[in-house]
């Protein structure tokens, strides 16, 4: 080593050791009146207050099965509405003793199945939901959830069985929606779209949540049929249903981004930074528009993915893959995430990110599971077909 290099290295290490302790210094607020944290339990949130009071009752009656189930159910609904995973933890704790206290309670097995699917423990979730149906054969919920899990894991025959089982158990629109979504995924896109549109128009009292779900699906189908105007119309109707749904906002944002309408995405999502999936869309839109906030959004997302990795969470992999590919431009990392994600989740957009990452990383072999699915399912989508064709060309040259 030359003296100058030795000197440079010495300087460098000096600089580095000087920097290291500067990380993360705790602080002490200067006055007692300073607000240091805002809790979710504001006085004007009745759902939080209600569940808090139920918790207090539980302290006096720890063996009350119905009370435990109600607490768990309320926490789970709060987790779904607000996207806060701590509530799932609280719900899990609430039903903790029930496998001993109430092993023959259908609702217990239903709630347990819901919590298991939340943490992507699909095999156990299915077992719990089956058990729930055995104990209460007329309950539609466990059937609907099994159908949904089968769809997520691309087991279409099983899903069809569940959709059929749903027919006598619930309002016809649910079985119709279930079947149409399945058919649209397995090679009967146009047929399913037409049928579901008619069903929605002919049914009078479709609850707003159902309307929103169906309209979002119709919008997605319109995109796949290359009818952007119709997609836009369906999305707009869904947004008018009066129900807030992060998934709808995410799907609509993706549609807007595909049309290079980044500005509209940033306006629509301006108060949604706390949601990971919508923060991803903000970061993508910011990057597309060269917005000054784009870096901040990307930094926040990076922090969240790093934190999830630290605790060994595998829930965010689809988003993490999109983040690595489209924001960070790191195809290899994106492919790692997308491949791992595809081992448990096999929805069309899981396949899409796997195909895109494999293509970008120039690794056609990694795309095989998604290509197989595309061939076997008969899924119709020009975007996926074109990705598959590109991979086939590059794979053939190999």
């Amino acid at each position: 080593m030359t003296p100058s290099k030795a000197l440079a290295l010495a300087l460098l290490s000096g600089l580095l050791s000087a920097l290291s302790p500067a990380v993360a210094a705790p602080f002490t607020p200067s006055t007692d009146a300073e607000v240091v944290e805002r809790l979710p339990s504001t006085t004007n949130d009745p759902s939080v207050r209600r569940v808090d009071s139920l918790r207090k009752q539980l302290a006096a009656r720890p063996d009350d099965v119905q009370l435990r189930l109600e607490i768990a159910r309320r926490y789970f609904d709060m987790a779904m509405a607000q996207g806060d995973p701590r509530y799932v933890g609280y719900a899990t704790a609430a039903i903790g003793p029930l496998d001993k206290l109430a092993p023959n309670d259908a609702s217990f097995w239903l709630v347990r199945g819901l919590l298991e699917q939340y943490s992507h423990d699909f095999p156990n979730a299915l077992k719990s939901l089956v058990k729930s149906s055995q104990l209460d054969p007329n309950a539609p919920e466990p059937v609907a959830w099994r159908a949904a899990i089968d769809m997520v894991q691309a087991r279409y025959d099983d899903a069809l069985g569940e959709c059929t089982r749903l027919v006598p158990l619930a309002d016809p629109i649910y079985a119709q929606g279930c079947t149409a979504y399945l058919k649209a995924t397995t090679g009967h896109l146009k047929e399913a779209y037409d049928a579901l549109s008619v069903d929605l128009a002919s049914e009078k009292d479709v609850p707003p949540e159902a309307r929103l779900w169906i309209l979002t699906r119709l919008a997605e189908m319109s995109i796949r049929m290359q009818r952007p105007d119709e997609a836009e119309k369906n999305f707009k109707l869904a947004l008018q249903s009066g129900v807030t749904d992060q998934f709808l906002l995410g799907a609509y944002s993706d549609f807007l981004l595909s049309q290079k309408r980044a500005g509209e995405v940033m306006t629509m999502l301006k108060d949604w930074e706390r949601s990971d999936i919508l923060l991803l869309r903000l970061a993508l839109a910011g990057k597309m528009a060269g917005d000054s906030r784009a870096k901040g959004w990307a930094d926040q997302l990076r922090d969240r993915f790093d934190a999830a990795m630290l605790r060994g969470d595998r829930l965010h992999e689809q988003e993490a893959a999109r983040f690595e590919l489209d924001v960070e431009g790191n195809a290899k990392k994106a492919l790692d995430y997308a491949s791992r994600n595809y081992t448990s989740q096999r929805e069309p957009r899981d396949a899409e990110i796997l195909l895109r990452s494999a293509l970008a990383a120039n690794n056609p072999k990694a795309a095989e599971p998604a290509l197989d699915w595309l061939k076997l399912s008969g899924y119709e989508d020009p975007a996926l077909a074109s990705l598959a064709a590109q991979i086939a060309t590059s794979g053939a040259k190999k």
Binding site: L16, R86, P207
Partner: protein
């Protein structure tokens, strides 16, 4: 029935969007446990979310949804008692004794404000090892995790441990990987990276090919002295090293970041440029300037390789210096294998007329292929 049906649909829609379900972070607490060589005391810094503490201890006395520092500070003893009641360090089957090492403070994490406890665990006989049992919040939130950075006595780098309900008791390894061990590990990684990352080798070779020659009237003549060639080599290698050391450090420390596609494409472009320059010789005297300029970009490439390896907290400087040294060693190995042979061959027509120009063209073509791949996502036959 209707309410139930409504619920199903809401649930169905949400399940079909399983990604919608995790906006905030799940509950974690962060511990740094540091041993001190020659002592059986352990310093513990423990960060616990105020929100979690409020859930179990009801810190928000006035129930207005806002925690003030006063509400938190006055409960410091309760918080410490609750926390230490759910964490046990034990040596030789006996629980270590907890002591407070400083007043409770606060810190910000990505999902809110955390109480920071400074504790000291006094343990007895360490001969039979040290174990830790963690049970914070598991009774109210089984998805909670304790994320521990464990620094063994005399160690520099920390070792990450995750405590969960199903793995709430773990041994803390008392034998620290020494600073030398950490340094050695990263030196080896650095050497590997140079050897496996052909692009850096090719760039260096393109700069070294003409080092044993001098440009005379638009053609190459053998250099007259070894000393002159070695000085040339030294200038190029030093400039390259200095440049990539600077950007490697800046990138790893998070001061600068560039999109990896841009970095990788530019690295490929730098090789094309350097190789083609050997044919035209337009930059002959100041090759070190070129080495320096492109070295800056190669540094970003090294940084992403190092980031992929994972950086040890607390020993970042060591990892950085080690990796850099490894890169140098790898580079030196290439230089010392190549330069003597090139110097020996320099007087031959073969070297000047064939080896150098054709070698440069081959290098440029390979790099052109990489460039197309990296910059335009071109899917080539390889």
């Amino acid at each position: 029935m209707k309410r139930l049906a409504l619920l199903i649909c809401a649930l169905l829609s949400l399940l079909l969007a399983p990604v919608a379900a995790f906006a905030h972070k799940p509950s974690d607490s962060y511990l740094t446990i540091r041993g001190d060589s020659g002592s059986a005391d352990f310093a513990v810094r423990w960060d616990i979310a105020l929100r979690d503490l409020d859930y179990v201890l009801e810190l928000d006395r006035d129930g207005n949804g806002q925690l003030t520092w006063g509400e938190v500070r006055t409960r410091a003893d309760d918080i410490t008692k609750y926390a230490t009641g759910h964490l046990e360090l034990s040596a030789d089957g006996k629980a270590c004794e907890w002591q407070t090492a400083g007043p409770m403070q606060l810190d910000h994490h990505s999902d809110g404000t955390y109480a920071v406890l400074s504790l000291q665990a006094r343990c007895g006989n360490l001969v039979n090892g040290l174990a830790m049992k963690y049970s914070l919040l598991f009774d109210v939130d089984p998805t909670h995790r304790g994320l521990v950075q464990w620094i063994a006595p005399g160690g520099l780098a920390s070792q990450p441990l995750v405590f969960s309900k199903d793995s709430d008791r773990q041994a803390l390894e008392l034998k620290a990987p020494s600073a030398w061990e950490t340094l050695r590990q990263y030196i080896v990684e650095g050497v590997w990276h140079i050897w496996l990352g052909y692009d850096h080798i090719l760039f260096l070779l393109s700069l070294l090919l003409p080092a044993v020659l001098v440009r005379e009237k638009s053609h190459w003549e053998p250099a007259t002295s070894l000393k002159r060639s070695l000085i040339e080599v030294l200038k190029v290698v030093t400039a390259f090293t200095l440049a990539h050391s600077v950007t490697l450090s800046l990138a790893v420390l998070g001061f600068v970041s560039l999109p990896s596609r841009f970095v990788e494409s530019t690295i490929a472009a730098s090789i094309i440029f350097a190789a083609l320059n050997n044919l035209r010789g337009s930059i002959e005297k100041k090759r070190w300037v070129m080495a320096f300029a492109f070295g800056l970009i190669h540094g970003f490439g090294f940084a992403s390789a190092l980031a992929d390896l994972g950086l040890p907290k607390g020993a970042l400087a060591l990892a950085l210096v080690g990796f850099n040294l490894g890169v140098e060693v790898g580079q030196m190995a290439i230089v010392s294998a190549f330069v003597p042979v090139a110097f020996w061959l320099r007087t031959t027509t073969f070297y000047r007329r064939w080896f150098m120009p054709i070698g440069s063209i081959v290098i440029a073509l390979v790099a052109l292929y990489w460039f197309a791949q990296r910059a335009f996502d071109f899917q080539g036959p390889f």
